[in-house]
């Protein structure tokens, strides 16, 4: 394992110091591990708080800023944050009209955010939560912890963030967040495992002619192992899984997301196949993102996330956003 770090135990706080130095638009409480907008809460605006394990950068800290999150709580690498962080963040962004927690559906994230929400409610801050669970590789049944939250998290943060920026009330912001999640599906593929600094070795082994299908964003193996093949075929597997779950049609918002160590040129090769697949199925990539957005440390691979748009969602997607990881319109 070779990592550009000082010490496996201080990666998260060292990185937060870097985030603070790099982005004057953010205020980073390194001690309590919360990333805020430097501008602070706005009276009358619903606050948006998200968080989760670190190692998925730019998610979530890179999406704090105008038109998106008000605060992010980074946990240890691949470990959900603790309730204290979420409480601190929630109180810190409260503009008097409530706070939305955007929580990816993992047992740890759910439990820690729930504990925090209860305590915040006791202290008089109104909190609503949206659970993101877009990963079609996991069956949402009694026999699993339910679908994982992956790429759609970014869509939820952006679109709910835009609506909150317009001054919509908490219930509406929570509703659009839930709607975006309901309209989104993801599927991920790994060409290589990743290595956490703490473990110091890859989370699994893959032969040179094997890939993992249906992976999440925590270096876990996928549902199945398959033979490596051309991008065209791998993308087809991912898109078939998405299409079977929620048939593709009409205008879509599509993210071709790199897992952290895949060259951008390869992501574009894959995106060309995604685009061709959508056309074949009578759908259109009306809005697109291609790049590293919801990563898994140094994993090679990608995920595709498709959200079925409405005019209103497109409008909110297009609204100005100013964060380290996503910026347009200002």
């Amino acid at each position: 394992m070779k990592k550009l770090i000082n010490d496996a135990g201080t990666v998260v706080s060292d990185a937060l110091a870097g985030v603070a130095a790099a982005h004057p638009g953010l205020r980073v409480d390194v001690e309590n591990r919360v990333v805020y907008r430097a501008s602070g809460p706005r009276r009358g605006k619903v606050g948006l708080v998200s968080g989760g394990g670190s190692g998925h950068e730019p998610l979530h800290g890179g999406f704090v800023g105008h038109g998106m999150l008000d605060a992010a709580c980074p946990g240890e690498i691949f470990t959900s944050p603790v309730p204290d962080q979420v409480i601190e963040a929630t109180k810190g962004v409260d503009g008097g009209v409530g706070v939305l927690h955007i929580v990816k559906n993992y047992t740890g994230d759910v439990l820690n955010f729930e504990m925090a929400a209860e305590l915040c409610a006791e202290e008089g801050v109104e909190v609503a939560s949206v659970l993101v669970n877009d990963d079609v590789a996991v069956r949402d049944s009694l026999y699993t912890a339910g679908r994982r939250g992956t790429g759609a998290t970014l869509f939820v943060e952006k679109i709910a963030g835009a609506l909150a920026e317009e001054g919509a009330p908490l219930a509406e912001v929570a509703a659009v967040a839930a709607d975006v999640n309901a309209r989104s599906r993801s599927f991920g593929v790994a060409l290589s495992p990743c290595t956490t600094p703490a473990a110091g070795k890859p989370t699994f082994q893959l032969a040179d002619d094997e890939i993992e299908l249906g992976i999440g964003i925590h270096g876990e193996p996928g549902r199945t192992r398959a033979a490596a093949g051309p991008a065209r075929e791998i993308v087809r597997v991912a898109m078939d899984a998405i299409n079977e779950d929620l048939p593709l049609s009409g205008e879509t918002l599509v993210m071709l997301n790199g897992m952290g160590a895949t060259p951008l040129i390869e992501l574009y090769v894959a995106f060309a196949e995604v685009d061709a697949y959508l056309r074949e199925h009578g759908a259109r990539a009306a809005r697109t993102l291609v790049g590293n957005y919801v990563t898994s440390l140094d994993m090679q691979g990608f995920s595709v996330t498709v959200c079925h748009l409405t005019d209103e969602l497109t409008r909110l997607w297009d609204a100005p956003v100013e964060t380290p990881g996503l910026r347009w319109g200002r």
């Binding site: 394990g53 946990g75 240890e76 690498i77 691949f78 470990t79 959900s80 944050p81 603790v82 309730p83 204290d84 993992y106 047992t107 740890g108 439990l111 820690n112 504990m115 590789a137 996991v138 069956r139 009694l142 026999y143 699993t144 912890a145 994982r148 956490t196 703490a198 473990a199 989370t203 699994f204 999440g216 925590h218 270096g219 876990e220 193996p221 549902r223 199945t224």
Partner: protein
């Protein structure tokens, strides 16, 4: 058993968790996200630090402090779950200065119930509950038969170890391992393994 007994337990847990940290993380790498050892090690290191600052007045207060610290420092699934377990254990013991094996057994039962409520895992779902539940039963039975602490804790530790080992052939239905479906079969659940360590620590201290 008094506060110093439970302090010794916590020390012993801290020691074994640090010693077994890499094994726990490897178990988690196989069917989870490779952080369980680091999570618990960080948590109990923080517990030790907290105990260096204050000495709680009773076993109950001590265990509530342990639980609260775990909740505040661990994160992940195991932080709230173990944190809740220790808090419930402490709360149930109240402020008594001395705890009998039977009282401890009853409190542990309450703790495991709290874990079950929070995580809604049943036995057989391949989680820490698969080690906790049999341990509680063994402890309760031993206490009901009037066993000494050393014997009762030995029974509990053995039951937890057997419960952890019995998770190997199971397919996970809760936690991250459930994402793997049938591929989760053949691996020991890391949380069940750490439960076995925690009850093993109880045996060690009980045998002194």
């Amino acid at each position: 058993m008094d506060t110093s007994f439970f302090l010794a337990w916590v020390d012993e847990i801290t020691r074994v968790v640090a010693a077994e940290r890499d094994r726990l993380t490897e178990l988690d790498a196989a069917i989870g996200d490779a952080d369980h050892g680091a999570n618990l090690d960080r948590g109990f290191t923080a517990v030790r630090a907290a105990l260096a600052e204050t000495t709680p007045a009773s076993p109950g207060a001590l265990l509530v402090l342990v639980g609260g610290t775990l909740i505040r420092k661990v994160g992940g699934a195991s932080g709230p779950l173990y944190g809740t377990a220790f808090r419930q254990l402490g709360k149930t013991l109240g402020d008594a200065g001395e705890v009998s094996p039977a009282e401890f057994a009853a409190a542990l039962e309450a703790a495991v119930d709290a874990v079950r409520r929070l995580g809604s895992a049943a036995e057989g779902d391949k989680t820490m509950v698969d080690a906790l539940a049999p341990a509680v039963r063994a402890l309760g039975a031993a206490a009901a038969e009037g066993a000494k602490a050393a014997e009762a804790f030995d029974a509990a530790a053995r039951a937890a170890e057997e419960g952890a080992a019995a998770t190997v052939p199971l397919q996970a239905r809760k936690g991250r391992a459930s994402y793997l479906g049938p591929r989760s079969v053949g691996h020991e659940d890391p949380g069940a393994a750490s439960t076995a360590l925690i009850l093993g620590a109880l045996r060690t201290v009980g045998a002194r």
